[in-house]
Amino acid sequence: MGKKSIFLSVVILLVAGALVCPAHAQQMKSVKIGVISPLSGPLTFVGTSMLRCVQLAVKDINEKGTTGNGPGLLVGGQRYKLEIVNYDDSADPAKSVAGMRKLAEMYSVPVVLGPFGTPQVWATQEVNVGLKVLYNGLSTSDQSRKKGNPLYIQERVPGMYYGDAMAEVAMEKGYKKAAVVTDINEAYVSWGKRFRQKLESLGGQVVAFESVDIKTTTDYHSIMTSFKAKNPDIIFVAMYEEPSALAVNHALDVGYKGKFMVTSDWGVKSEKIVGLDRMEGSIVQAMVHTYYRKYPDQDKRGYATAFMKKYVETYKEDFAQPGLSVYDPVWMFARAMEIANNVTDAYAIRAACPKALEEGKLPIIFPNVDVLKNGLMWGAPELILEVKGSQYKLVKTITVPKNILE
């Protein structure tokens, strides 16, 4: 073979190689995303779940890409892998703020997942705009997205909006007299009030309304005794999962024979604490994964079931519900970076978030399809279930209309 032939062969081989794997030949850059969650203190279980859920999302994105076009993100012809930087705020608002500052100033993160809790979210809303950080803070308060923060994402419709549908179902089932007990957390009090307002507008009656501090209340017997004396058809319980179960148990302890209506915090643990056999005819307002966990064949998209299975297989224990809530925003932020063609500008990423969901290509658990101007991820339905024969029967699927939420 002549020198010319060898030279030509080498050139052809090099060009062919570059054509076959152009992106892989490049070094992947990394873009840091922040996670602020309580990894110490009484909410460690929640915070650990949050971090793990982000880790699972990041792993999948780095391996397969956002829409199967991986690995990593493709932004401006450059591949990026996501890298997590986490901060333990111990569920202390002051530390949440310190965490936001550190992640922005030291690591230049454009997006953050967390913190968890309304006080923590409200505290960080004072600083994130100045720091140019887009974040999804976990707060069930309706007020959180009404503060006009242009870089805040609320990943779920506040529970209070389901109070209307819950009141309608109560009336449909003939449960016209209700007693309400909520946590003193503003989100739960609002939920209870919304339920009361709607029930009374439909001709029902709320015979008692109590708000308690679930952190210090361990005995609900006397509250339930006072409720029982007023003979309600149904007791509406709006609290975190385990206190809900305790309140239901204590109502049963004092001989209450009516039904219960519990909120979307109800889950596997509360089922085990109380026993579904003791709640025949009771109503549960649930997020979709609560239903799919028991009836995986109902999960037509398959993402929720696949995620829950993967989490348990990876970490050998169950997740805390708030952890699940941060999984979808990770995907949304990653896809938004690709659409915006930008991995650093929080405003550009935020502007691309609606499109990221609208496309419908992301393997997200809750099928939201839009991000409203006020930052609320919207579109995923929630469910109203009835306990029948220790199983759940689907009563209604609810999607709160956009115009109410804007």
Binding site: T44, S211, T218, H221, S222, L252, V254, K269
Partner: protein
């Protein structure tokens, strides 16, 4: 009337938990002048011990109750010898600080060992309810009432009918006098700690199946138990018992007739009223100050 009777029943069952905690507190305070702020956390440790024995090792509940009580007694002995005995002659504030430090250590240790996820005890009668007419009570709470009655009877017999009990009482009444009578005060002090923490142990395992277990579960009952010993009179076991039952009932009535949000406010208000009109409490000793 039925409603009132139910509140009284609820209050008595909750009061029994306070009885066990408060009796232990008052025995320790009476002998050592130490406000054992860690009593609530020792009760929490016992609840977790009971939980793991029953749920992880499938142990019989009653055996777990006995073993956890012994374990807490031993823990009490260790705490006495390693924490309070070395500083027994130090100013009182040192004892206060040591008690607070113990509280922090126990809480941190519990968070580390047991995690923050809420746990619950499931035993065969967890969901059983005893009903008599229109009155109902969870079977475990009936066991709490019965168990507390038996334990307090046994404690009374121990104090009034045994020489060790007499030595305990004598030391509580007058430490120096007890020394002069040849009573080994340091051993009696250690025994007081063992008895006090064992009572917390019994409380923890008795109430464990009726509540949710969290590392901070001891703080609420501790506050009420402290109020009960002040109400009943520092150093008086009878005062601790009566104070605990009264405050348990007040808490229940306030929850039922007024609001659960303010039930503890009523409990502390009762304590303050007692302090204003009878500072020594129901059965406490007069404190002479020059």
């Amino acid at each position: 009337m039925i409603e009132l009777a139910q509140y009284l029943l609820n209050g008595i069952s909750q009061g029994c938990v306070y009885v066990l905690l408060a009796s232990g507190l008052t025995i320790i305070f009476g002998i050592l002048n130490v406000p054992n702020f860690a009593q609530g956390h020792l009760y929490m440790v016992a609840a977790y011990l009971g939980f793991y024995m029953v749920m992880s090792y499938a142990m019989n509940y009653w055996l777990a109750l006995v073993l956890a009580t012994f374990a807490l007694g031993i823990l009490g002995l260790l705490v006495y010898f390693f924490v309070f005995y070395p500083i027994r002659n130090a100013p009182e504030v040192n004892l206060f600080v040591a008690a607070m430090a113990l509280l922090m250590i126990l809480e941190g240790g519990a968070l580390f060992l047991f995690g923050t996820e809420t746990k619950w005890f499931l035993i065969p009668w967890s969901r059983s309810v005893l009903s008599v007419g229109n009155l109902s009570l969870q079977v475990q709470r009936v066991i709490v009432i019965a168990g507390t009655t038996v334990v307090m009877l046994a404690l009374w017999l121990f104090i009034k009918r045994t020489s060790l009990g007499a030595a305990l009482e004598a030391t509580a009444q007058h430490r120096e006098g007890a020394l002069l009578c040849g009573i080994k005060v340091s051993r009696i002090s250690a025994m007081a700690f063992v008895v006090g923490t064992a009572l917390a142990g019994i409380a923890g395992v008795l109430i464990g199946p009726a509540v949710l277990l969290e590392p901070t579960m001891g703080m609420g009952p501790l506050l009420v138990a402290f109020s009960a010993i002040i109400f009943g009179g520092l150093g008086s076991v009878a005062g601790a018992v009566l104070g605990s039952v009264i405050l348990g009932v007040v808490e229940s009535l306030a929850s039922g007739y007024i609001s659960a949000t303010y039930n503890l406010a009523f409990v502390f208000a009762i304590m303050i009223i007692m302090l204003l009109f009878r500072p020594k409490g129901l059965f406490g000793k007069e404190v002479w100050r020059p």
